[in-house]
Symmetry: C2
Subunit: 248 residues, 2 copies
């Protein structure tokens, strides 16, 4: 691939989409489209019509997990080989399945989960993890994108969608779940805050800055979070009951 002239489309310009388009523009010619027109775009990113964005050499979807099926259903006719399609969802089994089912069989598919965003990546992305899996892609194409992500200094992790979702149900699912619960408790800073308590407050900050929709989607569209929540609930009840019994 002559990547100097390579065009990359970004479909969806929410907080993450804007961030992602800016990152890609460091190397590629980036065309972006969103349902709602953005008046200001990062330098190096040009606004384009849906057709143009879908016809790029590579196309990244940066839409809410819960919106992905409708979006993909609406634009599938516009996406043709040799375009390589990527999702960037925080869950992987669900979007990988959608792309395989809905896209033209000749379209190459790579699932990615950049495990960072505008907050954690504000000071640069070096060292931050990205999960990638070639759902339906030749070795050369997958290798090109792996090399690109490595060139950004990212920690590259190849992991299949089911393995990702099993791990993420705990690492991400439980963290966001606890963050929302602790936020609901309205925890405040305290003059006698221990180090552990300050870490709890940091978890609230880090998780509750993300949209509520992302929280719901992570929980609903990762097939393993239900088990996580049941286990968490069981452990909470267990400790709760121990204390209850002890205080009798």
């Amino acid at each position: 691939m002559g990547d100097r002239k390579m065009t990359v489309g970004v479909y969806g310009l929410g907080r993450f989409g804007l961030f992602w388009a800016r990152l890609l523009s460091g190397r590629f010619e980036v065309k972006a489209y969103s349902r709602t027109k953005r008046d200001e775009l990062p330098a190096g990113v040009t606004w384009a019509g849906e057709d143009d964005v879908c016809a790029c050499d590579a196309l990244f979807f940066c839409v809410a997990i819960s919106a992905f099926e409708d979006v993909l259903g609406a634009v599938r006719g516009k996406v043709k080989p040799p375009t390589v399609v990527f999702d960037t969802c925080s869950v992987k089994v669900f979007p990988a399945g959608l792309m395989e089912r809905l896209l033209d069989p000749g379209v190459r598919i790579i699932a990615t989960h950049p495990m960072f965003g505008p907050d954690s990546g504000s000071a640069g992305v070096a060292g931050l993890p990205i999960v990638m899996y070639p759902v339906r892609a030749d070795r050369e194409t997958a290798g090109f994108w792996k090399d690109y992500f490595l060139s950004l200094g990212l920690q590259y992790i190849e992991m299949d969608p089911a393995a990702h979702d099993r791990e993420a149900a705990f690492t991400q699912g439980i963290t966001h779940y606890m963050g929302r619960v602790l936020a609901d408790l309205s925890l405040k800073k305290s003059p006698i805050a221990t180090l552990g308590y300050r870490k709890l407050l940091e978890i609230v900050e880090q998780t509750c800055n993300d949209p509520w929709q992302l929280f719901l989607d992570i929980q609903r569209y990762n097939p393993y979070t239900k088990d996580m929540r049941v286990n968490l609930h069981r452990s909470l009840e267990k400790i709760y009951k121990i204390l209850d019994d002890e205080s009798k």
Copy 2:
């Protein structure tokens, strides 16, 4: 007070008592006693009988919260003015009340909660917080101990027992509670651990290194942790139910 010759007793040589005796020995002549004899003591700390320890100029109790009533009941006859008595418990209303009720009315009483221990204080105690309250002490005595704690570089916080327990029910109670729940879930390190998840794992490490008895005591002897647990439970159920309804 001629503090060069001042003797300080440490009653109870568990993990915290040993740490505390070592810290005090940097300035005072420290005599220590414990139910179980310790063969090795920090330099500057000498083993003494119960009578000798209770007759020191200052006497710190470093026993489990749940053991304090029995210990105090057993030694109260040995503790006489001008000894100043300190507890070091992680809750304050309960031990302050016990000391007022059980000790000779002429004995001065200062409640303290050093909010650190052998783990968090392993690299030095400067900057770490200590809560202190003169339950029954003249200004000069309280001022002497405040100055001593400040001379160690500690962050000195004067707070009455009820205010302490209300704050601690959340800052300490909830952190330890979450630590135990997360430990029960056997969370593991993960190649795709987010920053937030790594903080959760750190909370487990920091809270579960303490004895199980301390966890139970913090929850049982702080009159405000019951409310905290009820609130936490309510928030968990609320988020759980939102997800449950959404997934229907």
